[in-house]
Amino acid sequence: MAKIIVPTPLRKFTSDKSSVEVSGNTVTSAILELVNQQPNIKKHLLDENEKVQPFIRIFVGDEDVSNDEMDTTPITETTVISIVPAIAGGSVNNSNN
C-alpha cells in the first residue's frame, strides 16, 4: 500500500489522520482511492473535472507531479505521496471570519 501524507488543513476531512494507505498503480488511482475512503476531502482536493485544485500540489517522493502527469506516474507499495496545500498563516486577525 502506498502512503498519502495529509497536510494539517485537510486532516479534518480524514478523521485527523496524518496519512492514509491506498492501493492503485498510478497517482490518479491513489488520489481517487483517497477520495473514496474520505469523501469529505474531495472538494478541497479536486475540481469539478476531478483535477487537482490549483492551490494544491501533489508530490511523489520529492518530485512534483502535475495534473497532466498523474495518469502516467506509477506508484508502488513504498511510494509516499505528499499533498501540499497553500497555507497563509496562523493569525485570525486577517481571516475572513
Binding site: 508530490f59 520529492d62 512534483d64 497553500a86 497555507i87 497563509a88 496562523g90 485570525v92 481571516s95
Partner: protein, 388 residues
C-alpha cells in the same frame, strides 16, 4: 565591497561570523551592505528581525500596520507586555536598536497594498515575507517577481510550516520558481481554514522564522545553497521534515512562456474575498449587539444559538446553545421554527453560513445573524468577555 568598514566594536560583535572560513569579513561586508525588507513583524517577522539585526544587516525595512495585542505575545517574541497597544513597527525598532545600534531601520507603518508595494520594495535587495493572509502573499510574490527581488518565504499553520526561497537568481542568471509556479490560484474563501480551525503553536514561527533569517543571510552573503527550487515542510507535531523539488511553470502569468500580467492586480478580489464577491449578503437578516442586549435584558422570547466549536465556547460564551457549524444539519430539530432564533459565532461569518444552509435546505425563515459575533458583544456590551 572593500569600502565597507567596521569599527572595533563591530569587529568584536561579529567575530563569530568573521572566523567562519567561508563566511569571513567578506560575508560580513555583504550583510552590512544589504537592504532587507521584512513584511510583517509578527510571529515570523519577530525571529527574522531579531536574527537579521543581530547578524548586522546594514538596512532593515519593517512593514506592518498593526498594533501589539495581548494575543500576539504567545509567539511574537519581539514584544513585551509594555508594548501592548503600541504600533508594532515602533515597538520593534525600539527593541532592535537596543540589540544592534549599527543597523539602519526604516519604518513602513502601513498596510502593504497594490498601490504602495512596488514603491516600498524597490529600494531593497531581498524581501522576507512573514505575512498571514493569501492576498498579501500573492501581492508580495508578484511585486518581487516584477522587481526581480528574491522573496524568502515562510508560512505556518497550527503545527505545520513551509519555507522556500522564491525568485532567486543564481550566478548564471537562472531564475528560480516563485509562489505562482506552485500555486497558480489561491483557495476560494470557503475552502480556507476559518478562524475556528486556525491557530498556531507559538514556537513554530520561531523555528520557521529563524530558518527564514538564515536563508536571507545565505542569499545576501552568497554563502551556502539557498532553498531555491526546493520547498521545505516541517510538521512539528510529528517532527517530520520533507524537502520537495519545485520547478517553474511555463503557464506562470508573471514570468512563464507567455506572461500576461505586467503589473500588480487587486489581490483581495483575486482571492475572492472582496466586498463585491461576498455571496448572498442580503439574504440574511441581521441584528446588532445593542439590540440583542435589549432582548436579553427585557427577557424577550428567542433562542440563542452559538455555531462555534466547543473549544471556542470554553474561551468565552454568552450562554448560547452550542451547535457547531458542521453539526447544524444533523441537529435541525434543536433549532426552533416558531420563535426568533439569533445565531452567532466569533465575528458573524460562520453564523451567516449556518443561516444560509438552514434557509436553503430546511426552509427556515425566523433566523437572525448576530452582526460582529461574540467579538462585537465583548467590545460593546461586556468587556469582561475575553476576545480571541
Amino acid at each position: 565591497m572593500s569600502e565597507v568598514k567596521f569599527s572595533k566594536e563591530e569587529l568584536e560583535r561579529y567575530s563569530r561570523h568573521l572566523i567562519i572560513p567561508e563566511f569571513n569579513i567578506e560575508g560580513q561586508r555583504k550583510l552590512k551592505n544589504a537592504k532587507v525588507l521584512v513584511i510583517g513583524t509578527g510571529g515570523l517577522g519577530s525571529p527574522v528581525l531579531l536574527y537579521l539585526t543581530a547578524a548586522g544587516i546594514g538596512t532593515i525595512g519593517l512593514v506592518d500596520f498593526d498594533v501589539v495585542d495581548q494575543s500576539n505575545l504567545q509567539r511574537q517574541v519581539l514584544f513585551t507586555v509594555d508594548d501592548v497597544g503600541k504600533h508594532k513597527v515602533d515597538a520593534a525598532i525600539q527593541r532592535l536598536k537596543g540589540l544592534n545600534p549599527n543597523v539602519n531601520f526604516v519604518a513602513h507603518k502601513t498596510r502593504i497594498t497594490s498601490e504602495n508595494a512596488l514603491d516600498i520594495i524597490k529600494d531593497y535587495d531581498v524581501v522576507a515575507d512573514g505575512t498571514d493572509n493569501f492576498p498579501t502573499r500573492y501581492l508580495v510574490n508578484d511585486a518581487c517577481v516584477l522587481l526581480n527581488k528574491v522573496n524568502v518565504y515562510a508560512s505556518i499553520f497550527r503545527f505545520e510550516g513551509q519555507l522556500s526561497v522564491f525568485n532567486y537568481i543564481d550566478e548564471n542568471g537562472n531564475i528560480g520558481p516563485n509562489y505562482r509556479d506552485m500555486f497558480p490560484l489561491p483557495p476560494p474563501p470557503g475552502l480556507v481554514p476559518s478562524c475556528a480551525e486556525g491557530g498556531v503553536i507559538g514556537v513554530l514561527p520561531g523555528i520557521l522564522g529563524s530558518l527564514q533569517a538564515n536563508e536571507v543571510i545565505k542569499v545576501v552573503s552568497k554563502v551556502g545553497e539557498p532553498m531555491s527550487g526546493r520547498f521545505f515542510i516541517f510538521d512539528a507535531s510529528a517532527f517530520e521534515t520533507r524537502i520537495l523539488k519545485i520547478k517553474r511553470n511555463p503557464a506562470n502569468p508573471l514570468n512563464g512562456d507567455n506572461p500576461t500580467q505586467k503589473g500588480l492586480i487587486d489581490y483581495v478580489q483575486f482571492c475572492g474575498i472582496g466586498p463585491d464577491v461576498e455571496e448572498n449578503k442580503d439574504e440574511v437578516q441581521e441584528i446588532d449587539v445593542f439590540e440583542l442586549n435589549k432582548w436579553i435584558e427585557s427577557n424577550q422570547d428567542f433562542q440563542l444559538i452559538d455555531v462555534r466549536e466547543p473549544y471556542e465556547y470554553e474561551i468565552a460564551n454568552i450562554n448560547g446553545e452550542l451547535i457547531p457549524l458542521a453539526q447544524i444539519s444533523s441537529q435541525v430539530e434543536a433549532i426552533s421554527r416558531d420563535r426568533k432564533v439569533v445565531i452567532h459565532c466569533r465575528s458573524g461569518v460562520r453564523s451567516a453560513k449556518a443561516i444560509r444552509e438552514l434557509q436553503s435546505l430546511y426552509g427556515y425563515n425566523n433566523l437572525i445573524n448576530l452582526k460582529g459575533g461574540i467579538l462585537a458583544f465583548a467590545k460593546e456590551i461586556d468587556n469582561s468577555i475575553p476576545t480571541y
